[in-house]
Amino acid sequence: MKQLVILSGKGGTGKTTVAAALAHLASQEMPIVLADADVDAANLELVLDPVKQEEHDFMSGQVAVIDAEKCIACGLCAEVCRFDAVMEEGEIYRVDPLACEGCASCFYQCPEEAIRMQEQHAGLWFRSDSRFGPLFHAHLFAGQENSGKLVTLVKQQGRLLALDTGAELLVVDGPPGIGCPVISASAGADVALHVVEPTVSGVHDLERIMGTTDHFGVPSLVAINKVDLNLTRSEEIVAFCTEQGVEVVGRIPYDTVVTEAMVRGRPVTDYADGTVTEALEEMWSRIRERLLSDGEEQR
């Protein structure tokens, strides 16, 4: 079983569009499992029309809660809090649950034992069926922490099911950025596909995300989305990738059909023939070749 993670660094470059298209194309050739690792803004479900099979609570992290009856307003909790989460409110102190990082420092320091740590119901995660295979996805509640933990959970569930059912590929739609959710989404991946647009920020962000996956030993592939928006920048990306020894596996042209397919809630390859679909098919065959050849090396 191979694990492919789709990343970008910069948001909105077409990760989910590419992930949905790859899910559609790959599923015609092999059994696959899907995981949406962008848990604070999950979009894969919008184009895969999934039917929920299981729903689970995601309990994670704690927040401090001060018992107003016991609080003697000594202020020690506010003094030790490094996250500005404890506020004086009239005669007593109160914890702002959004600012609280659950470190329990106040809990241990309170002389009156007036503070308890409360576990947070931080989100939900789901196993759904889609036309292209089982989909694991999640919804982190507004403003919650620990998105990295939820990402790991969703991805691990996908991995376990893929191993149990003999699926050949796990496609992980990753979050933007380079921080903890991205690191969680990339862990254990055989290949990271970076989707980049030919803009100054796209190029800048590609260098940072590729640095991140390099740091964790995950090999990179690159897809240039809207390749014809700025051909000079596209060439710059190709030159950078060549220098880094990274293959550019996809060159996807700009076409409004991509948005049309999104509005209809379908992967673009499943919605229309044309240059975008052709480019994505070509890209999938190159990714497949890369994933399979890696397997041969191991044998």
């Binding site: 948001g11 803004a41 241990y108 982190l140 740091h215």
Partner: protein, 297 residues
């Protein structure tokens, strides 16, 4: 007045709007912060001169083994499993391990150590910088590659650059995509959150989540900029009407804007006629903030 620019979905035009707003308000000497410390892009457009730089991160424990009794109290109180005591107490194999990437820098281990064997040292995870371009004062944070935690960088950037008594001066914060802790940190303390979205199902879905954070959790007034207007469907318009969220500016789908962006040219420099529209946007936001504050009193 602090305005945070957010979106939920990435790539909807946060940086385009934030940069154009700052440039259009140059006469008012705005303060402009790039809080997307994972992928900071504002400097590519604003092209500021960086005048000062600091290394930042978290305070992590350092154990003095002459004082440590390996009692394990530090590991017991640490909620993040960032410190572990291994081996039998007082045996030659006993040791204390610190995992900097798990540490939140809360200081609880230091406070709870019975022998005062722990002191805290800075573990550098990023940089914060300040500079300017003409009358625009600029600040940005950059998370080092391979580091997981963006929030401490954003928090320290804000503390360093935003003066406590900023009054009516425009302060613009460009947030990261998503709705999790880095976005909450970028919104906290703001007077207004401006959502930049595109009129597509993805744009709407993620903006709703960002509105939940800004309006429902943090209680802040919100307004919307619809970017690439004309692409997609009516979902965003219908949602804003139903939720009574004002649409303050529409930027049509225009290949010239996309091309200027691809070269790092700010929208208001490529299309100067937008300057007045951004000034009007700011005036509208000021009015909405005044109304909100008036209603609260």
């Amino acid at each position: 007045m602090i305005i945070t620019i957010a979106s939920g979905k990435g790539g909807t035009g946060k940086t385009t709007v934030a940069t154009s707003l700052a440039l259009s308000l140059a006469a008012e000497s705005p303060l402009f912060l790039d809080c997307d410390v994972e992928e900071p892009n504002v400097a590519l457009f604003l092209k500021p001169t960086i005048e000062e730089r600091r290394e930042v991160g978290q305070m992590i424990p350092e154990v003095n083994f002459d004082k440590c009794t390996y009692c394990g109290r530090c590991a017991e109180v640490c909620q993040y499993h960032a410190i572990a005591v291994v081996g039998e107490m007082r045996s030659a194999a006993a040791h204390v391990l610190v995992f900097p990437e798990l540490c939140h820098g809360c200081g609880s281990c230091t406070l709870n150590c019975p022998t005062e064997a722990i002191r805290e040292v800075l573990n550098v995870t990023g940089t914060i910088e300040r500079g300017s371009n003409g009358s625009i004062e600029f600040g940005q944070g950059t998370l080092n590659i391979g580091e997981p935690m963006a929030v401490p960088i954003i928090r320290q950037l804000k503390r360093w650059v935003i003066p406590p008594d900023h009054g009516a001066r425009p302060i613009i914060l460009d947030a990261s995509p998503g709705t999790a802790c880095p976005v909450v940190e970028s919104m906290s303390g703001a007077d207004f959150v401006l959502m930049v979205t595109e009129p597509t199902p993805f744009g709407l879905h993620d903006m709703r989540l960002a509105v939940q954070v800004a309006r429902d959790e943090l209680g802040l007034p919100v307004g919307v900029v619809v970017n690439r207007d004309g692409v997609g469907d009516r979902g965003v318009d219908d949602y804003c009407a139903a939720e009574d969220i004002p649409i303050l500016l529409r930027i049509p789908l225009d290949r010239r804007i996309a091309e200027a962006y691809s070269e790092g040219t700010p929208l208001v420099e490529a299309l100067p006629e937008y300057r007045e529209r951004f000034q009007a946007l700011y005036a509208d936001i000021e009015k909405l903030v005044r109304e909100t504050k008036g209603a609260a009193q």
